[in-house]
């Protein structure tokens, strides 16, 4: 009996022991899309990838928290975030190490941190999913406050996910006063709140609401499954603010135990190949490198009017407006 126990314990200990030629990556991009990329990296380089995935909408495990919790004793080498705000939070907490990847060349500086601690790639954009039968259609985010569209729109809970980032970006772009006035009008305009972008998209697909601001991948998946929807890029006219872009972000962890392999993975994720794969996958991410073929339903970044924001500023704003958003929801 005791021998069996001993063997069991030993096998447990050896299971977690780190191997040479490996890299540990924490991933907030959906596993469905990120895993194939990491598997390809393994195949091409022979470096074993140990991955830790986030679950739905960062509501559950929060690999971010692991990164924060492990600051004294980091376990991860690389973090693949599905939006740059998280990267900024980590940067502010001193968890990231700078790395200038050769593959970062050709990516617009809006999508990179100035100190090279993170770099964006393959992006989603925030656009309107609109039901085909909707009589009035929105063309600007500001239309949420348009009384002609009263009660027709829905938006995901602004306390979570890309919805938070987007609202925070509005605050930095418009200034606090104008943004708060907009939020107030939106409330008066009877805009519904859903629990996630996915739910918003479902509501529009079913015809319960006419339109919703969602991530491009949520809209595309509904369109591809034949739902009666179309999409509209908001604020594309001159002097309008443009569409909010949410790129993936890759970053190197300070004190990474496998930094050489980590840099290889860093470069791999920023490569044109990876961007092409993510564009073809169901997540339909828009490449940030020029000339990489994007998803056929979506315009390329260069064809879009992009909202010019400093993601570092957005991250700061996000923390600041947290109490305001809670209040706003409660009222």
């Amino acid at each position: 009996m005791s021998r069996i126990i001993l063997i069991c314990l030993l096998s447990f200990l050896t299971l977690g022991a780190s191997q040479n030629g490996s890299v540990t990556v924490y991933v907030s991009q959906d596993q469905v899309f990120s895993e194939p990329i990491l598997k390809d990296f393994e195949k091409e380089t022979g470096i074993k990838v140990k991955a830790l995935y986030d679950s739905e909408e960062s509501k559950s495990t929060g690999v971010m928290n692991r990164l924060l919790a492990e600051k004294r004793n980091p376990q991860a080498d690389i973090y693949w975030a599905n939006e740059p705000i998280r990267a900024e939070i980590l940067r502010n907490r001193g968890i990231l190490a700078p790395y200038k990847s050769p593959n970062a060349k050709g990516i617009d500086k809006v999508f990179k941190s100035s100190d090279n601690t993170w770099c964006g790639f393959s992006a989603r954009v925030r656009l309107f999913i609109v039901h085909k039968d909707a009589i009035m259609k929105p063309y600007s985010v500001m239309d949420y406050a348009n009384s002609a569209l009263e009660g027709k729109g829905v938006i995901a809970n602004p306390l979570f996910g890309t919805s938070t980032s987007h609202i925070s970006a509005l605050f930095t772009y418009l200034g606090e006063k104008t943004a708060k006035a907009f939020m107030k009008k939106m409330k008066i305009n009877n805009i519904a709140i859903s629990t996630s972008n996915g739910e918003s998209a479902d509501f529009v697909a079913s015809g319960k609401y006419d339109f919703a601001l969602v991530d491009s991948d949520d809209a595309i998946s509904r369109l591809r499954s034949g739902k009666p929807v179309e999409f509209i890029y908001p604020d594309q006219k001159d002097r309008q603010m443009g569409v909010f872009v949410v790129p993936n972000a890759v970053m190197l962890i300070k004190g990474a135990k496998h930094s050489t392999n980590a840099k290889k993975l860093f470069d791999y994720l920023l490569s044109r190949d990876t961007e092409a794969k993510l564009a073809k996958a169901d997540c339909a991410q828009i490449p940030l490198h020029k000339g990489v073929e994007g998803p056929k339903e979506l315009k390329s970044i260069s064809d879009l009017r992009v909202m010019q924001v400093d993601y570092a500023q957005v991250a700061k704003e996000m923390v600041k407006i947290q109490p305001y958003l809670k209040d706003w929801l409660a009222k």
Partner: protein, 509 residues
């Protein structure tokens, strides 16, 4: 080594591995009460707290009420198909809770009238009800077996069967009813994966969000405190109220059975099968109908092979080690060594009722330190989580077996000069082989279905199947997720059925 010293060593291990993380967390929380007050002032926190409270009271009330009724029917009447009905009802308990919720979503879709009912209080209640119904049923069945049939016959001399039931049988099993109420209450209060799938705001989810979405450790710790208080309250009731009211259990040659008329039997069996079918088979049908073809199933199987292997390995290895420790712990609690037996007993109950999220956060905070990071960076941390959460279950089952053994067996061995180690090896161990097998299966299944602790603490690259399914839920293809759920179900059901067959064969022989 004396028995006393040995007992204290075992207690120290349990305390160090599992209790101290929670204790350290509480200590870290001291002085930060203002954060909690602030958190509880926010509308979502307060709403989610009341949602959780109402939900768990409702679910525990309903499961206890219906479960007692079902237990009485299965244990006390002569209806047929008892085992089939019981088995059908048991299935949800063998699986990660969210699977049933996903099944319903696949069945009803995300829009429409029924779906609106599903996403919210009613849906979460229905799934939790289905999930926890077997608990009161099993408790009631167990206690009914240990009622002296003469107590019921003595009443039958004076009154009809309805009164026998209400005046004697039910009062005698009342402790089991209260116990299952408390257990279901604490389990449903800590459960969040169903609420997560069905988009209903509950308190453990809120505390999880504090932890994950807002990167707020202090917040998460403070949100854990109300849950910890509720766990302590349940522990208090168990230790000081129930323990005195649980009448000594003894087995009897027969159970007093209430014979029903043939047409009554048919009605009751039909109703029960219909309900079990509705609650269990329908959601699984939802999953099956999503899969569509064998190819999808095979694709899902290939995708999840790694995580399935991890799951099977973790479950079998952990169950083996846990069975060993449960046996030791049960022996110490049974032999009533001064103070330490009580301490071990209370620690195990406490760890069992502490919500998994709290336990997981505590384990990370405690074990993620540079000089002991061989725990945190290996699967040992996952094992510690299982150890804390489930040791109680096995230890209780083994203790029950010990109390059934005549103590004279031990005394007889003592006369021949056997010390406690020899008695443990030659008397207790051989007498417990069967229950150890049962305990292994219980551990195996509970560890296999576990996803909360695992998800919080698993080391990179070692995800289990239930965790893999949860991460796939973000934008994964519905049919693949449905297929994964079926694979999960089979990997829990097959060993369970094999074990049942093995036990039956042995019993016949």
């Amino acid at each position: 080594m004396s028995q006393k010293l040995f007992s204290w060593i075992v207690f120290t291990i349990i305390f160090f591995i599992c209790v101290s993380p929670v204790a350290v967390m509480v200590i870290e929380a001291i002085g930060k009460e203002d954060i909690l007050i602030q958190l509880l002032h926010s509308k979502e926190s307060l709403d989610s707290f009341f949602n959780s409270l109402i939900l768990s009271v409702f679910v525990s009330f309903m499961t206890t009420l219906i479960g007692t009724l079902v237990g009485l029917i299965l244990g006390k009447t002569n209806i047929s198909l008892k085992k089939a009905i019981l088995f059908l009802m048991l299935i949800p308990l063998l699986l990660p809770p969210y699977i049933l919720a996903l099944g319903w979503v696949d069945m009803l879709g995300v829009v429409g009238f029924f779906s609106e009912l599903l996403f919210g209080f009613l849906g979460v209640s229905l799934v939790l009800f289905t999930l926890y119904l077997p608990i009161p049923v099993l408790f009631v069945l167990f206690y009914l077996k240990h009622i002296n049939p003469h107590l019921e016959e003595a009443a039958y001399i004076y009154c009809d069967k309805k009164y026998v039931l209400s005046r004697v049988t039910i009062p005698l099993i009342l402790p089991s009813i209260i116990l299952s109420f408390l257990l279901v209450f604490i389990l449903s209060f800590g459960e969040y994966s169903v609420a997560n799938v069905l988009r209903y705001s509950v308190f453990p989810l809120e505390s999880f969000v504090q932890f994950s979405a807002f990167y707020n450790f202090d917040g998460a710790i403070m949100m854990a405190m109300p849950m910890l208080l509720i766990a302590l309250f349940v522990l208090f009731i168990e230790q000081f109220y129930l323990e005195k009211r649980i009448f000594k259990y003894k087995s009897f040659d027969y159970i007093h059975i209430f014979k029903l008329e043939n047409n009554q039997k048919i009605y009751i069996v039909a109703i029960m099968i219909f309900c079990a079918f509705f609650m269990v088979v329908v959601p699984f049908w939802g999953l099956f109908s999503k899969i569509g073809s064998v190819d999808i199933f095979l694709i899902a199987f290939v995708k999840c092979l790694d995580s399935l292997l991890h799951s099977l390995l973790f479950a079998s290895v952990s169950a083996t080690i846990l069975t060993f420790f449960a046996f030791i712990a049960a022996y110490i609690v049974y032999s009533k060594v001064f103070l330490v037996s009580k301490l071990i007993d209370m620690s195990l109950i406490f760890l069992f009722i502490v919500p998994s999220t709290v336990l997981g956060i505590a384990l990370i905070l405690f074990w993620n330190r540079p000089w002991i990071d061989f725990v945190y960076t290996s699967v040992l941390i996952v094992f510690f989580g299982y150890f804390a959460k489930y040791l109680f279950l096995g230890s209780k089952l083994i203790q029950h077996r010990f109390t059934q053994m005549p103590y004279s067996m031990v005394e007889a061995a003592m006369i021949f000069g056997a010390d406690w180690k020899k008695i443990l090896k030659y008397i207790f161990l051989p007498a417990s082989y069967k229950v150890l097998g049962v305990v292994f299966i219980v551990f195996y299944i509970f560890i296999l279905r576990e996803n909360t602790i695992t998800m919080l603490v698993y080391p990179p690259g070692y995800e289990t199947l239930p965790v893999y399914i949860v991460t796939q839920m973000a934008n994964g293809k519905e049919e693949i997720i449905a297929a994964l759920c079926i694979i999960m179900t089979l990997s829990a059901l097959i060993p369970f059925l094999l074990a049942m067959m093995l036990f039956r064969k042995k019993e016949r022989a």
